[in-house]
């Protein structure tokens, strides 16, 4: 049973999804439901013996194309809606033991093109107002399946974090006539010390206002709003800078580095968002090799993050671990 309930205190929707309590939880590698189904082996969720990249509807979705009627009725300030939307899983590789960081840049390039296609397809649904592409990596951020994969939530509303960014971007545009993220990118580029990696189309940096020690943002140099605006060179350059960053993450503590990857694009509600600027944000929970950054009183209860580190320092540490990307030569 799932439904959307409105929080009148914050002006935000949340989803109840009680069936998710029963979802597969950290199965042994031999019984991974996201591996291909090998002949003579147990049937996984993918009924074919091999694949390259696969996208499919989540077996335990928070949002559904044909949601059930809510279990409880709306009552005054307590608004309830069916949990309409789409939840997809994207499998990056048939290899259970790999990760996006370990994959060759060519595979990441393929994934960028799949992300673009999923965005194009999901925005066709009239009920989808926002397509959110993300990855949770590592048990530290709540991963329940280790097979390398990401997810897409196609929401029936613009989620609150993006809504706030949209408002800030719109206000900045009204006040200055400029794009907020273009101005942030200019600041970071001219300051230089917080830049972690860069190429012709993108820059990766730990911003001045980072909340997590290794909170990296990747922004395109060109003012674009979504994957559908990318030219082929930008697709390749995004793959390249992702490869560089994720590999450097894993080198930080010589172990797979947990993170939440959050791709922020324009909404898909038919309105114009020329003031908005595509970017990717990483929220890694590690603050040292042994210590996690927890969302405690100030962060969870008041919304004010306390960063125990300086972005200028952490960016330098990460930049020192960046290595060139090697594409297969023709």
């Amino acid at each position: 049973m799932s439904e959307l309930r409105y929080n009148p205190l914050l002006g935000e929707w949340l989803a109840t999804a009680t069936h998710r309590q029963d979802r597969t939880f950290l199965p042994p590698a031999d019984f991974c439901p996201l591996c291909p189904t090998k002949p003579g082996s147990f049937p996984t969720e993918v009924p074919e013996p091999d694949y390259d990249i696969v996208a499919f509807e989540n077996r335990f979705p928070s949002l559904k194309r044909e949601p059930e009627v809510p279990a409880i009725q709306a009552d005054g300030i307590y608004n309830v809606e069916p949990s309409i939307g789409v939840c997809e899983v994207i499998l990056y590789s048939p290899d259970h033991t790999t990760s996006l960081a370990a994959e060759p840049v060519e595979q990441i390039y393929k994934l960028v093109r799949v992300w673009r296609h999923r965005f194009q397809e999901l925005e066709k649904h009239s009920f989808v107002k926002y397509v959110f592409i993300f990855e949770n990596k590592g048990e530290a951020v709540g991963v329940t399946l280790h097979h390398p994969h990401g997810q897409i939530y196609a929401y029936p509303f613009v989620p609150p974090v993006v809504a706030k960014e949209l408002q800030q971007s719109s206000d900045h545009q009204d006040e200055t006539g400029r794009c907020l993220l273009c101005d942030i990118l200019d600041k970071e580029t001219s300051f230089e010390k917080r830049i972690v990696a860069a190429n012709e189309s993108f820059a990766a940096y730990i911003p001045f206002f980072a909340r997590y020690p290794f909170e990296v943002h990747i922004s395109p140099r060109r003012h674009i709003q979504a994957f559908t605006d990318f030219v082929p060179q930008e697709e390749r350059d995004l793959a390249a800078i992702l490869k560089q960053l994720l590999a450097a993450f894993d080198r930080l503590f010589n172990r797979p580095f947990p993170y939440i990857m959050s791709i922020h694009q324009r909404p898909t509600d038919g309105s114009h968002y020329d003031h908005y600027h595509f970017h990717i944000e990483f929220y890694p929970p590690m603050r040292t090799a042994e210590k996690l950054k927890y969302l405690a009183g100030s962060e969870a209860g008041a919304g004010m993050f306390i960063n125990d580190t300086l972005p200028e320092t952490k960016a330098g540490e990460l930049k020192a671990l960046i290595e060139p990307v090697e594409w297969k030569k023709k």
Binding site: I53, Y109, R113, V114, H117
Partner: protein, 48 residues
Amino acid sequence: MSEDERVEEPGTMDHREITLADGRYMIFYTFEEPQAEDQKGENKADNV
């Protein structure tokens, strides 16, 4: 990008959709390796 720096393209992207027993869709993405002559041409649009 110079001739020497040119990298291998993953080729055109295609996809095939199936319906699982419980009604969910599953989409398999495939990437054809480019033909030799294509490698010197301009980028092909994704075949999707």
